[in-house]
């Protein structure tokens, strides 16, 4: 019995980190209406940034947030402004331009291969960071401390992003653009600038997710791919464009992955995750958690 509670708790913790890795994907989709296939690669870039920041300076791994989040915001903003925006402008009259998806796929390949070229294929880890291997002991249960930190960070980030979208002028303009681009432009909103900011925020959340991962997760050039696939499943489960949905979707996957192996082999838990994904796609394509965009 204890095992199941312990696994559930650790599943929730890891799942909320999954949710955090997918948050940017859902934000970017909600506003630009395109799937960003480079999202996992942005996470990977964030992980290298965090890894080197901590390794070179010896700072606490979580302190890297103050560096990685703004750097990733700038990275996302610039990427959208100089690489993706021109395609949007060229395809002005297309509602969901396929070429943009192709471009994000190209960015994914370029980032992953560039990283491979610069840093090589080896796995890197922050072996002697203060969170590594830390466990919290509650009765007979062991709770992973770095994952607990990650979970708290995920919740704070979700609340912060939600607050920003609800309560600031820029946040309202982003929501307006996500609902009706043309009407938004009649309010004086430059949709391309909004895309830049949304992409920047998406990249920044990937950067925050990266910081929560490096204390216990290996860094390597294709690390993003693992999270990409999970990310797509999570945002479909939670509802494309929904921030709370991303967290909830992540937690569902985290629990299945962590409790499942008590009852079956790991391949089966994966089958359950994909099965759930397909069922949701067929039965409730807007996701388990309601509206198309809840912000």
């Amino acid at each position: 019995m204890y095992y199941i509670i312990e696994d559930t708790i650790n599943g929730i913790l890891m799942g909320s980190i999954y949710g955090l890795t997918a948050m940017g994907l859902t934000i970017i989709f909600g506003v630009l209406k395109v799937v960003n296939f480079a999202h996992g690669s942005m996470l990977m870039v964030g992980m290298y940034l965090a890894y080197w920041a901590v390794t070179l300076s010896g700072m606490h791994p979580y302190l890297a947030i103050v560096l990685v989040a703004p750097a990733m915001f700038l990275f996302g903003y610039t990427l959208q402004n100089f690489v993706i925006k021109p395609i949007f402008i060229a395809e002005k009259n297309v509602r969901e331009p396929l070429t943009v998806i192709i471009v994000t796929t190209g960015i994914w390949y370029i980032l992953d291969n560039l990283t491979l070229l610069i840093f090589g294929p080896q796995y890197r880890s922050l072996a002697d960071n203060p969170l590594n291997g830390q466990m919290l002991e509650i009765g007979e249960m062991f709770i992973s401390v770095p994952k607990l930190y990650g979970c708290i960070t995920a919740v704070i980030t979700a609340l912060g992003v939600y607050w920003f979208f609800q309560k600031t002028d820029m946040g309202r303009a982003i929501r307006a653009t996500s609902m009706d681009r043309e009407a938004a432009s009649l309010m004086g909103i430059n949709q391309y600038k909004i895309y830049n900011v949304a992409f920047g925020i998406g990249a920044a959340t990937a950067g925050i997710a990266a910081v929560t991962l490096v204390p216990f997760y290996n860094v390597f050039p294709t690390v993003g791919v693992l999270f990409d696939i999970k990310g797509f499943i999570i945002v479909v489960l939670g509802g494309l464009g929904s921030i709370g949905g991303a967290l909830a979707g992540g937690i569902i996957i985290g629990i299945i992955e962590s409790v499942g192996p008590q009852f079956m082999t790991a391949t089966w838990t994966e089958a359950i995750v994909y099965g759930l994904f397909l069922v949701v796609l067929f039965v409730k394509p807007s996701g388990l958690f309601g509206q198309k965009h809840d912000w």
């Binding site: 002028d169 009706d180 432009s185 009649l186 004086g188 909103i189 198309k292 809840d294």
Partner: protein
């Protein structure tokens, strides 16, 4: 110098030309109506002015400054606010958030609180409903939000595209009274309407658009009495 001066514009959707060699003027303080049947090009004309659908030739000047090549956000910044056909509210946002987005442009953003107070005074219903999600409002309330959202942008020229569309007669009266009040408070109004009687009776001047061309223009009271208009638009 007129507030808005359009000279000989052509507008096309791809290969299909919709507006032909159209010229039009709006003076400061006027209420001007554009009337015409379905597909005459009324909405397209407003879209050309607001920069959504740039004219392929001709000029549009506002306060004497050419704007025909400007994107919508610059046109808004110059003081033209376009309340589009079909209201186009931000459907999942609250009434208040819709209004606040209306004040996004820099000029209006400086005194949002003040403008919001004035809009609530003009449209008290919106204050009662400020936390309601726009999608769940009645058609009349939605139109009020659309107009209020336009006013939040502090227009020098307010362009309304068929504000009475799809509303019950009693609400239509409300809407036109509201437009009258807005004009009385000093905002210049350019209004597209199919409810010819109501719109002309509160306008100073009118233009009649048919197949993308101005076929008639003049003082509103003269247009109301015109036999062609009586027959074609008033069904008398």
């Amino acid at each position: 110098m007129s507030l808005l001066e359009i000279n000989n514009i052509d507008v096309s959707y791809g290969d299909v030309q919709v507006i032909f060699d159209l010229s039009l003027k709006v003076e400061k303080g006027e209420v001007v109506s554009i009337i015409g049947g379905n597909g005459a090009g009324k909405s397209t004309l407003l879209r050309a002015i607001s920069g959504l659908m740039p004219a392929s030739s001709g000029t549009i000047a506002f306060h004497g400054v050419p704007i025909q090549a400007e994107p919508p956000e610059n046109v808004v910044a110059s003081g033209i606010i376009h309340v589009p056909e079909g209201r186009r509210l931000f459907s999942l946002m609250s009434v208040k958030d819709n209004l606040l987005v209306g004040a996004y442009n820099k000029r209006a953003n400086k005194d949002v609180a003040e403008t919001l107070k004035n809009v609530y005074k003009l449209l008290p219903r919106l204050q009662e409903r400020e936390n309601q999600i726009a999608m769940t409002l009645s058609g009349g309330e939605q139109q009020m939000v659309a107009i209020g959202r336009g006013l939040m942008g502090q227009p020098h020229l307010l362009m309304l595209d068929e504000p009475s569309l799809g509303l019950a007669p009693i609400l239509i009266k409300d809407i036109f009274e509201t437009v009258r009040k807005i004009a009385d408070q000093g905002t210049t109004v350019l209004m597209v309407e199919q409810d010819v009687k109501h719109s002309l009776s509160l306008s100073d001047r009118g233009y009649v658009l048919e197949h993308g061309r101005v076929v008639m223009e003049g003082k509103a009271e003269d247009l109301i009495d015109d036999p062609h208009i009586k027959e074609a638009y008033l069904g008398i």
